[in-house]
Structures are given as structure tokens and as C-alpha cells.
Amino acid sequence: MSNPGRVKAGYTRAIDFKHGCVEMKHGSGGRAMAQLIQQLFVAAFDNEFLRQSNDQACFQGGNERMVMSTDSYVITPLFFPGGDIGSLAVHGTINDIAMSGAMPSYLAASFILEEGFPFSDLKRIVDSMAQSAMAASVPIVTGDTKVVERGNADGVFITTTGIGRIAEGINISGENARPGDKILISGTLGDHGIAVMALRENLSFQTSIQSDTAALHDLVANMVAAVPAIHVLRDPTRGGVATVLNEIAQQSAVGMVLYESQLPMREQVNAACEFLGLDPLYIANEGKLIAICNADDAGNLLNAMHAHPLGKDAAIIGEVIEDTHCFVQMQTCFGGKRVVDWLSGEQLPRIC
């Protein structure tokens, strides 16, 4: 349920809780998911933390400001170029913590295993988690294991939960974007989504694209050190950059303009999108972040990002403007403009 983005009232029809049922689009990071979160989870659990609509909750823990976040991982295939469900589960939650500007301290991990799942695969996944956690210096300190009958799960589902600490004076949140701010991205768009999609058998693609899955807290630490007054950080996972920017625009009640020519993108990702009729702005990333800061700070922030290996392709991709419609727009390479809307439904490969 992380990522409780807000959807404008009246934007979609209310969910039919009597006759409707869960569809794939309710997990795809787009408007349907935001709507489900808002109309079901936020409505039921309502509290000041959830209402902030961030990927994590910040609260006072004794004398310190603490952050907590949780995320579940379900992915087919379990192993993909550049990572696996294990590394993803560690990186994803570390990133959700880091997007508040916090340093992650500890992780918890729970496993739902399907009867018959090979131990060799499970060991490979767990070893990968251990390695990722060690590399990130964030230990996995508690966990849980459940087994369900064959057919009731897809091999393995992993949930990780993390906590972290925020230094004094840091206030990073989705509602802080202000007109005039610059929008930065830490690297190329869409690598993870395309790397995973290329493996699906009926698409029969061969690419050398690797998932970008990575823990971003070290990059964030460098960024926060350089520019403590960063306004917003968020990782553009499901739904991609377009969806995340729309969420932030809604939260901050602002508009945004992206410059198409500045979007960093690998040629292969672009080519795969051409084949499948997909828009890279909506493809998932697992090791990228969007940062929004004062225009005056943007140069410093960009330098700090470039100085880190995970930010070497960072770029300023747009700016925040006043707009009562809260639209995200893009200045195309052609000089025209278009609206970059929320993801509608799932992104499906198409032929027409």
C-alpha cells in the first residue's frame, strides 16, 4: 500500500465495493491504484501520517525523528538481468526510507513460500538479499516465514519493512514542490521495466539492458549533505516517472513542465519501447530517484549527484510551475507541448 498518491475528486468513478473485484491495474502504480488506496485504505486507517501521502511515514521516536516504510515484492520472473526478487526487496524498502532524506537503520523481511518451491532458488534469493543488505550496511534483523499450498502463490512473495533516522533540519516531502523549483532525475529511465519485460517468453526479445535495482541511500546522503533544503525526493518505481510526477503535482498543488530533450534514456530502452508501443515515462525504475529543489540549489545538487556512481547520468529534466489543474506537461523535442497524464490501467504491449 505504499505510495498513497492522491487523485483529484471526481477524476474517476468511485470504486464499486459491492460488485467490483481487484484487477491487475489496481497494483500497477497508476490512477486505479491511487484510487484504491485513497478510497479504501486511507479511508479506513485514516491518520495524519497516511494523509501525508508519502511512501513512508515520519514520526517522533524519543528525541529523534524516525521513518518507517514497508513494501511487498511479487515479480515474474524471479531472476532477471541485474538482479532478482531478493535484491529488489532490500533495495526497494531502503529507497522508500531514503526518499524522506533518512538513513535506513534496520530491515525486517517476511516470506510467503509456495509448496514445492525449490530450495536452490530460495537460497539464491536469500543469499542475494544478504549480499544487498551487507553492501548497503542495513542489516535484516527480524522476519517471518509462511508456506501456502501449491497453486496459492507464485513461488515466493517477500515483504520487507524498514526503519531509519532523519537528521535535524531535513524536511523532504511530496507536498513541498514550489513553482520555480527544478526537477532532477538521477539517471536513465525505464531500465528495470524493460529488462524484466524482455524476459517474458512471448515477446522473445534479446537485449543487454540490466535492471537498475540499487540502494539509493548513499546517493541521498551525499545529496542532502550538498543541499539540505531538497524539497522532494521520490523513486519512480511502478507507473514510472510520469506517475510519480503527477502524484507530487497533486500533493503540492502545482504543475510541471518536462523537457523531452533532457530526459536521459538508453538507446535500447527507447528501441524496446518502439517495438512494443510503450512510453518510457511510464516504465518502472528500481534504482532511480526524482529530486525537486530550489532553482538556485539545482546546480549544486546536480554536481553532488554526478559525483556519485548511481547519479552519474543525472540531469535536470524540468521545472515546477503554477497550474491550478496540476498538470504535468512536456515540451517535446519538436517544440510542441503535450500533457503527461497518469498511467491509465496497465501498460500493455500493443500492435496498433
Binding site: G255, I321, Q329, G335, D341
Partner: protein, 382 residues
């Protein structure tokens, strides 16, 4: 030469746009229909409308196969998918399209139907081979471009002796739809819409060639320029149409000569005529019944015809009364003229055909152009 980036060069676009601006006759209006969703997409995606003078208007035509498929056929596909032991294979495009009661193939799948997304008709054949105990139906949709791959699949099923593979054929024909639009009363008699010319399809024309359009140029005295789907192709085609109008010509010109031959792809055409024959009439969403506008499977391939094997009925389901898709597809109205556009009818919950696919006129306007006219102050400040 990679045939892509060369045709997306932004600076060249500025030049072509400057040429258009210099050559238009300020005393008249130019209304062109781009038949194909591919052109609609390029126009929206690259913001080409911003580069055209105010007196050049583009009308989005019905060239999106997903949008024009009538709800009844979607409903038939959903009912098929719900038959026990049946696998329905469909291109990704059709999965979200709503039928009666908001049901779609994706929703049917969520409720247990075995719906598989395929990227190619050959994937459907593979699925039939892998599941010999089950009936596998390929939900075939699309214009002339997409028909030859379906013909290949049927011939392959025959060669392999697959007795569990059938095709639910919904292939439609472009020239009949263009004729239908030109013969509609609004265009022909009432003079409500003046259509000054057409941008002819890109990939449909790769298959059928440029010759079939000769008829429109002669019979209706409308210029046609066949154009590729890259943004420079579209701008160039608009310039070529303006030049034809300015010099009083009504000819078929081909801007997409790198892929379109006058006679088209004859191998593909022969395959199609071997497997398919004309339907007397077929319902198009938004246009109604259009004579000789679709294909069905010939009787010699009847065993691969899902319509026959499963006795699929002719099902006609009326669109929402407030929906203006018909008028929009004929160029009489624009998306923003429709009362339910953007309120009841959105990409998330599409009501009318033009909203269902991202190529549809309404969806393209919703995603890309919605507030172009209304509120561009935010952009101007910028």
C-alpha cells in the same frame, strides 16, 4: 540510415512548419483528415498542432482498429473467453476495451477466464500446440496491415493439422471506411464539414499500395497524400496537401515512398485473398453498418472459423446515447464538443470508442491536447 531518427529531426520540422506558414492562403481554411490513428498519435505526441497555422485544422479519422470494433464483437469475445476449457488469445490493445456493463477481457481474466496476450498471431499458434486439450481462439482485429499475419496463422494451423485453433475474424478495410465518410450526408450534401483532403495511411498502404486511393481523388475530387508515421512525414504531407489545394489539384501523392509501392505488397494481398472474402456489411463503432467493409474466413477454411465453430451471433449493442463518437469520427464534432468527454468518459473508464485506445481521437485529445486551447497561460508564463 536507420529510417527513424532522420524523420524526427526537430529543426527540420521547424523549417517545414515555416514553409507551411508561408504557403497557406490566409483567406481560406484547410481541413484535413488523417485517417489513421498512427498519424493522430504523431500529431499529439510531438505537439504538431502547435506548429500549424490557425487556419489549418486536422480532423482525426476512424483509423484505429480498436476504436471502431463494435461493442457487440467485444462482448462476443468476452463470452467466448468465459467458455470453460477455452483459451482466448488477443493483442494487448483489446484487453482493456469495455463491453456491456463495463466488462472487459482483462476483467473477465480477473474473474477466471483464460485470456492470453499475444504479440503475434504466431504466438497464438504456439499456444494451440502447447494446449492440445483446449480450444484456442485468436481474436483477430485490425486493418489491412494486420490481416496478412492472421492469414499466415490460419494456413499454418492447416499445415500443422491443428484442430483446436480457430480465428474470430474482425478484420476491416480502410478504403470502404473512407468512402463511407465521404458519402455521409454531412460531408456530401449539407456542407457541415468541408473535408479538403486526406493524409493516407502509412502501414495499411504498405500492404494495399497507393492505387486504391485513386478512386477518392477522382470520384470525390479530394487530394490524398500517403504519409509515414514519423512527425516529419506528417508535416510534409500537410504541406503537400496545401500545395495541391492551392494549385487546384486532387491527386494521390505518396510521401512514404520508402515503404509504399503503387501496387503494395502483392504476396501479402494474395495470401489474404486466398483465406478471406468480403462481408456484405459490417458494423463499425461510430459509423454504423458499412457495406463491404470487412473480411470473413472463406468456406474452404471454415474449420478455422470461430464464428462457425462456436456459432457466434451477430450482436449489436448501442453506444451510450450521450456519446458523440460517430460525429467525431466523421469530423463533424471535436472531442471537446461531447458532453461526457473528460467527465464521465475518461481513459480510465472509457464510454465511447474514441476514448478506448490511446490512438482514439478523444484519448489523444485527453492525454495530449486537453487544455491546449482553454488554459495555456501556465505555459506562456514559462
Amino acid at each position: 540510415m536507420k529510417y527513424i531518427d532522420e524523420f524526427r529531426e526537430g529543426r527540420l520540422a521547424q523549417r517545414i512548419a515555416a514553409c507551411i506558414a508561408a504557403e497557406v492562403d490566409a483567406r481560406r481554411r484547410y481541413q484535413f483528415m488523417e485517417f489513421c490513428g498512427g498519424h493522430t498519435h504523431a500529431i499529439s505526441r510531438y505537439g504538431l498542432v502547435d506548429m500549424l497555422p490557425d487556419n489549418v485544422r486536422m480532423i482525426h479519422g476512424p483509423g484505429c482498429p480498436v476504436c471502431v470494433l463494435p461493442v457487440g464483437q467485444v462482448e462476443n469475445a468476452i463470452r467466448l473467453a468465459q467458455l470453460p476449457g477455452l483459451i482466448l488469445c488477443s493483442y494487448g490493445d483489446m484487453l482493456r476495451i469495455p463491453a456491456a456493463n463495463g466488462m472487459s477481457l482483462l476483467r473477465a481474466k480477473a474473474r477466471g477466464a483464460d485470456v492470453r496476450m499475444v504479440y503475434s498471431s504466431e504466438d497464438a499458434i504456439k499456444i494451440a500446440q502447447q494446449n492440445p486439450q483446449q480450444q484456442v481462439v485468436f481474436f483477430a482485429i485490425g486493418f489491412e496491415t494486420t490481416t496478412p499475419p492472421t492469414a499466415i496463422a490460419i494456413k499454418k494451423a492447416q499445415a500443422l493439422g491443428l484442430d483446436n485453433f480457430t480465428v474470430f475474424c474482425n478484420h476491416v478495410l480502410t478504403p470502404s471506411a473512407i468512402s463511407h465518410i465521404l458519402q455521409s450526408p454531412e460531408v456530401r450534401e449539407l456542407g457541415v464539414v468541408s473535408l479538403d483532403g486526406f493524409i493516407g495511411p502509412a502501414h495499411v498502404s504498405v500492404v494495399i499500395g497507393s492505387q486504391p486511393y485513386q478512386y477518392f481523388a477522382e470520384e470525390f475530387q479530394k487530394p490524398v497524400v500517403i504519409a509515414g508515421f514519423e512527425p516529419l512525414d506528417v508535416l510534409q504531407a500537410i504541406l503537400m496537401l496545401i500545395r495541391q489545394i492551392n494549385t487546384g489539384r486532387a491527386e494521390v501523392e505518396n510521401e512514404f515512398t520508402r515503404a509504399v509501392l503503387p501496387q503494395g505488397n502483392i504476396k501479402a494481398q494474395l495470401l489474404v485473398s486466398e483465406v478471406f472474402e468480403l462481408r456484405r456489411s459490417f458494423e463499425w463503432r461510430g459509423l454504423g453498418l458499412v457495406p463491404y467493409s470487412a473480411l470473413k474466413i472463406k468456406s474452404c477454411y471454415a474449420e478455422y472459423d470461430a464464428e462457425r465453430r462456436f456459432s457466434i451471433p451477430a450482436l449489436s449493442i448501442a453506444d451510450n446515447k450521450a456519446c458523440e463518437c460517430g460525429a467525431i469520427l466523421r469530423g463533424v464534432k471535436q472531442p471537446q464538443d461531447c458532453k461526457i468527454f473528460g467527465t464521465v468518459c475518461t481513459p480510465e473508464n472509457p464510454i465511447g470508442s474514441c476514448m478506448v485506445s490511446s490512438e482514439g481521437a478523444c484519448a489523444a485529445h485527453y492525454s495530449y491536447g486537453r487544455f491546449r486551447n482553454k488554459d495555456s497561460s501556465a505555459l506562456r508564463n514559462h
